[in-house]
Symmetry: C2
């Protein structure tokens, strides 16, 4: 195991611990199965990419570990809710997630919809609690940032556009690489950017530091998605834990569909360089973030 993958595995364990403490536990009540479905969807593993980023960004600022871990967990809860809803038959219709039955395949559609709803609600409850920070206005800034990244002008809008290509929502899907980039920025980029920016909010970072971090995160987020598209086009189900080649069969607008394999590979490399330039602002403090960037881009090799 390389240094970076060992460090990431250790960080993932911390994140899992944080999530485990926040999730409700089944305990002999009529609604136990809801709690079980929430836990199943969240604790089934996954790369923990967003909370990992949050913890990596914490090395740049003077912030409390426990507070960062709560923010990281809230972001992962929103990500997990979005995966549950995205997998539903009416949406991406995927019975497989991380190599296991997806939440609705295991618990039924109604429970899966409700588990997603409850996870999103929990994310905001976690951020609003005094344990997240002593300053209520700062907690509200975190809530505002998360809501904007996740809501109608962020992640949900991106998913709406993504599904249009399959005819599952009305309206226009993405028709060229620029529109795919906008869709991905909405669908995944905003939450990835907030995974970084939230630490700048917690650390009351000056505007230039915050801007550099957001610039890094936007480039990284797009790179991450380009690599995801490459993995889907090239990968096998066992390696990526979901059904491979699905995007192409569904007629999805992806970077690979728009740019071709070679074009997508070049775009990922370009974005990695752009991400790196933004980290120059932080000097050596950002070494762990640099390593993570490399790790993300290298996933498809």
């Amino acid at each position: 195991m390389t240094d970076i993958s060992a460090a990431m595995a250790e960080t993932a364990r911390m994140i899992d611990g944080g999530l485990d403490r926040l999730l409700p536990r089944p305990g002999g009540r009529a609604e136990d199965m809801l709690f079980a479905a929430m836990r199943y969807a969240v604790m089934a593993g996954g790369k923990r990419f967003r909370p990992m980023l949050t913890l990596a960004c914490a090395k740049l600022f003077d912030v409390s570990h426990d507070q960062v871990l709560r923010v990281a967990a809230a972001i992962e809860l929103v990500h997990c809710y979005s995966l549950i809803h995205d997998d539903l038959p009416a949406m991406d219709d995927d019975d497989l997630r991380r190599g296991q039955p997806s939440c609705h395949a295991k618990f039924g559609e109604a429970t899966a919809i409700l588990a997603g709803d409850a996870l999103m609600t929990l994310a905001f409850e976690v951020l609003a609690a005094p344990e997240t920070h002593s300053d209520g206005a700062l907690r509200c800034a975190l809530i505002t940032g998360l809501a904007r990244a996740a809501g109608a002008e962020g992640m949900v809008a991106g998913q709406m556009i993504d599904l249009a290509a399959e005819g599952k929502t009305h309206g226009t899907g993405a028709r060229d690489a620029a529109e795919v980039a906008r869709m991905e920025r909405l669908k995944t980029g905003g939450l990835i950017a907030f995974a970084c920016e939230s630490v700048a909010i917690l650390g009351r970072a000056p505007a230039d530091a915050r801007q550099a971090l957001v610039g890094y995160a936007h480039a990284l987020g797009l790179a991450y998605q380009v690599v995801d598209d490459l993995l889907d086009a090239e990968g096998e189900a066992g390696m990526i834990g979901k059904t491979a080649g699905k995007d192409a069969r569904a007629g999805k607008a992806t970077f690979v569909a728009m740019l071709g394999l070679e074009g997508a590979r070049a775009e990922a490399a370009r974005l990695a360089i752009e991400a790196g330039h933004n980290l120059d602002f932080f000097g050596k403090k950002a070494d762990f973030l640099r390593d993570m960037t490399g790790f993300v881009i290298d996933r498809h090799r």
Copy 2:
């Protein structure tokens, strides 16, 4: 038109105006249909019972009208999201809502799921904004209250138990009047209670006033549900704007099923008296709330 129904109609207009200002507007973007679905679900009318309660409670405390209206709107956004998701085929499977096609019947399932998600997110964004109150910690107290009422230990848990009776979720449905009362307290009572309690939070009311208000709201919330069950059992689709007799056909656990028609009527009357006793604390200031209570209970006559 009686005084109370005229006052309620005027209040409903204020609430509609507040909601209209908060909802995103379609404007030539690929995700326009999402905004259209959100507006459709929220602006289709409805009784506005929860925000009406919030505005009625505002008469008890020294609070800003604009701030109360924002809180009331946030609560209604959560209510509307829950109706969209509850109507889905995997849940209550209802194509009719307030006499019109429900959100998924009009926009498709995927868009309806996403519109619900976006409305919930917007509710928290509204509460987190400085316009809601200058004190960030107070805004967080509102967010905590709304999240608890709506989430895994509140509304979502209640819906989970409600659907168990139909075999749509695993676990146990309600088997007697006490379990129906617990389910309804979770499913609708918590949000109704928060519609009142939120004003006590905004007004920094002393603990005894807050307690009296919550006591009132819990009794009123249950009374409201008993009347709803009576309307479903007795009513016609045109009068209540949804498919009548549906609960019984679906094998739902309702107060009417547990107590019979006469028993349910007696329970509604008892709860109305209990609600009224809690309002004694506020003296004449609570007259509008008293009138509203009577109005709610009288709906089924």
